[in-house]
Amino acid sequence: MADPSPARGPVVEADGISKRFGATVALRDARISVAPGESHALVGRNGAGKSTLVSILTGLQQADTGTLRFNGEPAPAAGDTDAWRARVACVYQRSTIIPALSVAENLFLNRQSLSALRPVSWKKLRARAGELLGEYGVDVDPNARAEELTVEQRQFVEIARALSFGARFIILDEPTAKLDARGIERLFAKLRELQAQGVAFLFISHHLQEVYDLCATVTVYRDARHITTAPVADLDQQALVEAMTGEASRGTGPAWSVTGRGTSAGTPLLQATGLSLAGSYQDCSLTARAGEVVGLAGAAASGNVQFGETLAGLHRPQAGTITVADRPVRTGKVPAALAAGIGFVPEDRHIQGLVPQRSVAENATLTVGDQLGPFGTVLPSRTKAFAERMIADLDIKTPGATTPVSALSGGNQQKVVIARALATQPHVLVAIRPTNGVDIKSKESLLGTIRQVADQGRTAVIVSDELDDLRACDRVLAMFHGRVVAEFEHGWSDEQLVTAMEGMTGPTDPKEDHVTHH
């Protein structure tokens, strides 16, 4: 399919690209150039214009100005999708899986048969799908409907599909955001293999470590502009962050620190005992004391997310009890959990977090409707004041409290979700993947916000598989296959935790009390 002869130029070269959405300038005179076989990273803060560039590079949208060339030739015409896909394949940031269709069909969407008039041979299609999935070690029935897959499995279907076109240039827009460590490893192995065959990548991620692991060149965008392009080796992490944020960073460490204060002394605020939820986890317990942040680590199918959701009242466990400050909480009811003082940051802000067309103020106060006025009223003045305080406290970048939340960049949307959870002044904050898809700068401040909760004498539970998140915890419980398998005090090494999350029991056994302090 692809031309094996030496390429006549960069696989892609874009110059002077500008794109506006109404009043928003998403890209301003931006450029990028990816050499054949190069692994090229594109980084920038939320809303810097990365995904917009992706949609222009893949022909989904047309730039307002600028030139675009593939292998030295002008880009195909706007509607000629086949030509586009011969030049560039893409894993988009937003899922492009169609839930009601089978995995096999999703993989070969719009190319189920060789020509439009030739009937589809489902048997062959299934066989081809099986082979393709096999290459990624994804154990999925090609016949299953996509909606039956886990998020991670879906992401792999997505990746397998993009890579299966045989294009010599592949764009991956935050492909790792939905994968756990093992998944990321598998993906990277595959990418390196392809790279060895001379395939070029444009790789987008907010995990700078991944950039260093995988890429040779990095391009930084900021505020819709191109800032710099350099070999990865020439930019250390600090320089990279500076380029992204435009501010000299005040050092490498985060602004917050894990104090470890109150770890053993604090009174248990949250106590979950013997919780079981069929199909997700069994007999799990957790204690969180005032002043500490507890991590609940676990890979995709470990049940840690469901466990966190159960604490927030989203699921009713078959067994077990939850108490907050020694008072039992009715399980399976969000209002009960809220009343008991449990705040909740859901896993996916698009699904459970935000009401997109409503304002920032409304979203931020969704949980505290009863505190904004007498007799069940919601006074606009109080809502606004409340929201403005949140905006200031969490440093949310928004034109105003009345802006629809959908107009904010991803990181700022995530802050609104956190604001919503903090609005009730919870004793216990349960946050699931709180920094999902958020840029490095915002991540730091979000974790800082969560630490603050603990520092004020309350407690927080971070449910995540991201080591960066878990580093903000005083204590981490690792889950595997629905059970808590290990517990770590602050100061664990990455390998320790990762092994535990992969089911090989770490050096520290759960419930073990004697742990070293740092």
Binding site: V25, G376, T377
Partner: protein, 343 residues
């Protein structure tokens, strides 16, 4: 109405550029029919001097009352992300069942079972409406059936029930309480107009300033997010469906008083009008957007069009054509006035 992430939603307004202008437009989305109303007013004025008389305008107002109550109910339901087609049958069947319960079992042209005293007619009628809403709610929320088709079935079923109970007759001898509200006049204007205005005002205030009113927008906008934020989604939706049924039943009370009898095809075919009015008035069929004020301008637009066409003496053969055309034109105007794509 599922919890979804709408990729094609409104264009994200700038976080970079001061968003003043754009934002204002969005704010006045609910006013997008006001220019249409003005134009209709001017045409009406040009067409006939009778247009701008109190008599005529109050007439238009009163004619709009029953429809507007259905629109009020439907708007609340749509904002909460649901639909109810059966309102158009409730407006007929609720009064008929109330009559059947209170009218004596002999002597009249229509015989009931005389189970309750006749002063209970209005409360009974409202209760029937509430029960209908509750049953719809049960089927939709507990059995998780498709709301559009459940209420479509209910639309047919209830109309059939009305025919069966009334034996297809109109009921002329209705209790005076029933007759009063639809025909009385307060302070120089029909009572029905005052009542509707009051209900819209109450509803509007509740949506704007009450916790449970605000919750409707959250539920309609993203039910999952609302649930995760501790809003009792199913309970509130159920209440809204019950409220919708009750409002439709109350529209039935006004209708009966206004037209002097309960006819067997009361409200027949109105649901299309209800949807048209609500949506051209800026309420989204996908939930989470719109105001009662907008919905009200929708009703008034449709009603004024009929009035102006009658005044202008449009040939009867072209009436229906123009009615359809006006819906599309109003839709186009409200789309471009608000600048938002509709999905």
């Amino acid at each position: 109405m599922s919890p979804t992430t709408d990729l094609s939603g409104p264009p994200a307004t700038a976080a970079l550029v001061p968003a003043g202008r754009r934002f204002d437009l969005a704010r006045y989305r609910d006013l997008s029919l006001v220019p249409v109303l003005l134009v209709l007013g001017i045409i009406g004025f040009a067409v006939s001097p009778a247009f701008l008389t109190t008599d005529n305008l109050l007439g238009v107002g009163q004619q709009a009352t029953e429809l507007s109550l259905l629109v009020l109910g439907e708007a609340l339901i749509l904002i909460a992300g649901r639909m109810d087609l059966s309102l158009e049958s409730t407006i007929g069947v609720a009064p008929v069942i109330a009559m059947w319960l209170v009218l004596p079992d002999h002597g009249g042209r229509f015989n009931g079972i005389g189970l309750f005293p006749s002063w209970t007619a209005i409360p009974l009628c409202l209760a029937v409406g509430a029960v209908i809403g509750a049953i719809n709610g049960f089927l939709i929320l507990k059995l998780r059936l498709n709301g559009f088709i459940v209420t479509l079935g209910a639309l047919t079923l209830l109309r059939g029930l009305q025919v069966a109970v009334s034996q297809g007759q109109s009921i002329v001898d209705v209790p005076s309480s029933f007759r009063y509200l639809g025909s009385a006049s307060w302070f120089g204007a029909p009572a029905a107009i005052w009542i509707c205005a009051l209900l819209f005002l109450l509803g509007g205030c509740a949506l704007a300033w009450l916790r449970h009113g605000r919750a409707l927008y959250a539920i309609g906008g993203n039910a999952e997010a609302a649930r995760a934020a501790g809003i009792r989604v199913d309970r509130i939706v159920w209440i809204v469906l019950i409220l919708g049924g009750t409002l439709a039943a109350f529209a039935g009370v006004l209708y009966t008083g206004h037209y002097g009898s309960i006819s067997a095809d009361q409200g027949n075919g109105w649901i299309f009008q209800v949807f048209a009015a609500t949506v051209i008035g800026g309420v989204s069929l996908n939930g989470g957007r719109g105001t009662l004020f907008g919905a009200l301008t929708g009703v008034l637009t449709l009603q004024l069009v009929v009035n102006v066409m009658t005044l202008a003496g449009v040939p009867p053969l072209w009436n229906q054509f123009l009615n359809g055309a006006i819906i599309i034109v109003a839709l186009i105007i409200s789309r471009f006035a608000s600048g938002e794509k509709q999905e």
